[in-house]
């Protein structure tokens, strides 16, 4: 009896896990008015044609629908994400992963200049996803853009690992919640991370060649 129950539970777990894969998300676009749906599909086609990931665009669309946003606003925000993805790829290079592009697009939307993204990529070749996610969070929490960008860049160039950035983020977040000024919290927490020699990778000052994309 118990064995049968365990087998049943064991078998049910993977099935539940695949739910997200079985979602027919494009059907949900039908909830948009025809004009907005057409505009979204046009943006998706453009992204596909230029090799950009479409998931962030579709996700933004569904997010807007779920939050009952105005259709025109949804189209506007999806277009913003598309533009940010394009700009992110120009800054990070054609080999940037989907996660890197999404994180970079988020950083751009938070106010990080594209030139800063290019500096992240040129510093070394490992994934910029985590430092850019942390950078966007810090700016969103009130750390001045330049302070956040320069501090994260220093740590990045100093060889900080993903765990270092996440640890830094946790500390700063705690300090801000406790009442510390955001910039002060970041500066003090950043001192806890000794700079290390950057790992071998792309040499600094050798940024990726910008790709040529159709407008």
């Amino acid at each position: 009896m118990l064995g049968a129950l365990l087998v049943t539970l064991w078998a049910a777990a993977p099935a539940a896990a695949q739910d997200y894969e079985s979602l027919n998300r494009t059907d949900q676009l039908a909830r948009l008015d025809p004009g907005s749906r057409s505009a979204i599909e046009s943006i998706l086609d453009s992204a596909r044609a230029s090799g950009l990931p479409t998931e962030p665009l579709l996700s933004k669309t569904l997010e807007g629908i779920s939050k009952r946003a105005d259709n025109r606003r949804i189209v506007s925000k999806v277009r913003e994400v598309y533009v940010a993805l394009r700009e992110a790829r120009l800054a990070l290079g054609a080999n940037a992963s989907k996660d890197e592009l999404s994180a970079a697009a988020g950083a751009l939307q938070a106010g990080v200049p594209a030139t800063m993204l290019a500096r992240f990529r040129s510093a070394h070749a490992k994934s910029v996803t985590v430092p850019l996610v942390v950078l966007a969070d810090l700016i969103t929490r009130g750390v001045p853009r330049d302070t956040a960008s320069n501090t994260i860049m220093q740590l990045w160039q100093g060889g900080a690992a993903d765990g270092d950035f996440l640890g830094l983020w946790r500390g700063v977040e705690r300090d801000i919640v406790s009442g510390a000024p955001p910039a002060m919290a970041l500066m003090q927490r950043a001192r806890e991370y000794p700079l290390r020699a950057p790992p071998a990778g792309r040499a600094p000052g050798n940024p990726p060649q910008p790709e040529t994309t159709s407008p």
Binding site: L23, K67, E80, D99, G106, A107, V133
Partner: protein, 205 residues
């Protein structure tokens, strides 16, 4: 040995022993009074009955069977416990409200599995329902309902999610959107409610 051979003294003792005892008048009453004066022994309470020491006799066979049963229970409990632990380890995230997610372990696992287990946790004692929404479930507020622990107001749900960067939020009571307090914030969503970022390890990034 016959009676005729007994020593005279022994015969005298035997005769005395066989002679009926004659009690004085009132002896029976005095005896009963003395018994009545003795305090009654206290009856043990139910708690004492359960907690009091007593001897239990078991045959070696029954004892061995009980021991084997206990070992079996321990093994099963260990398996369930390990499963839970695996979930926590796999949650790579940065993100979960109280949690563990708290506990975001912060470290992106190095293995290359493309789907990982992520546990979302939110402390919301006053909430009647909580769901998690994100790019992994089409932002459907009814797709992934969280369950409340028996004690406290902690809501949680465990999901298998593709590795990578994900945006998500919680929906409390079907209408109030909120970011995960224990995860990095995403930049303005453009729709007036904040989102969080989950970094699920093993991505291609």
């Amino acid at each position: 040995m016959s009676e005729q051979e007994l020593h005279p003294n022994v015969e005298w003792i035997a005769r005395e022993a066989r002679r009926p005892v004659v009690l004085g008048a009132g002896a029976r009453e005095r005896l009963l009074d003395a018994i009545r004066e003795e305090p009654l022994p206290e009856r043990p309470s139910r708690v004492e009955w359960f907690t009091g020491r007593r001897r239990v006799a078991l045959s070696p066979l029954v004892g061995a069977a009980l021991a084997a049963g206990l070992v079996g229970i321990g093994v099963l409990a260990g398996r369930f416990s390990n499963d839970d632990g695996r979930d926590r380890d796999d949650r790579t995230a940065v993100g979960q409200p109280e949690t563990v997610a708290t506990a975001p372990s912060g470290q992106l696992p190095s293995n290359t599995d493309t789907v990982r287990v992520l546990k979302f946790v939110l402390v919301a004692p006053q909430a009647a329902s909580v769901s998690v929404v994100g790019d992994f479930n089409g932002w459907d507020a009814k797709a992934t309902m969280m369950t409340k622990t028996r004690t406290g107001g902690t809501w949680s749900v465990t999901m298998r999610i593709p590795a990578g960067r994900h945006l998500y939020a919680f929906v409390v009571d079907g209408k109030q959107w909120m970011a995960d307090p224990s995860a990095p914030l995403a930049p303005d969503d453009g729709f007036g409610t904040p989102n969080s970022v989950a970094l699920v390890g093993g991505s291609s990034s």
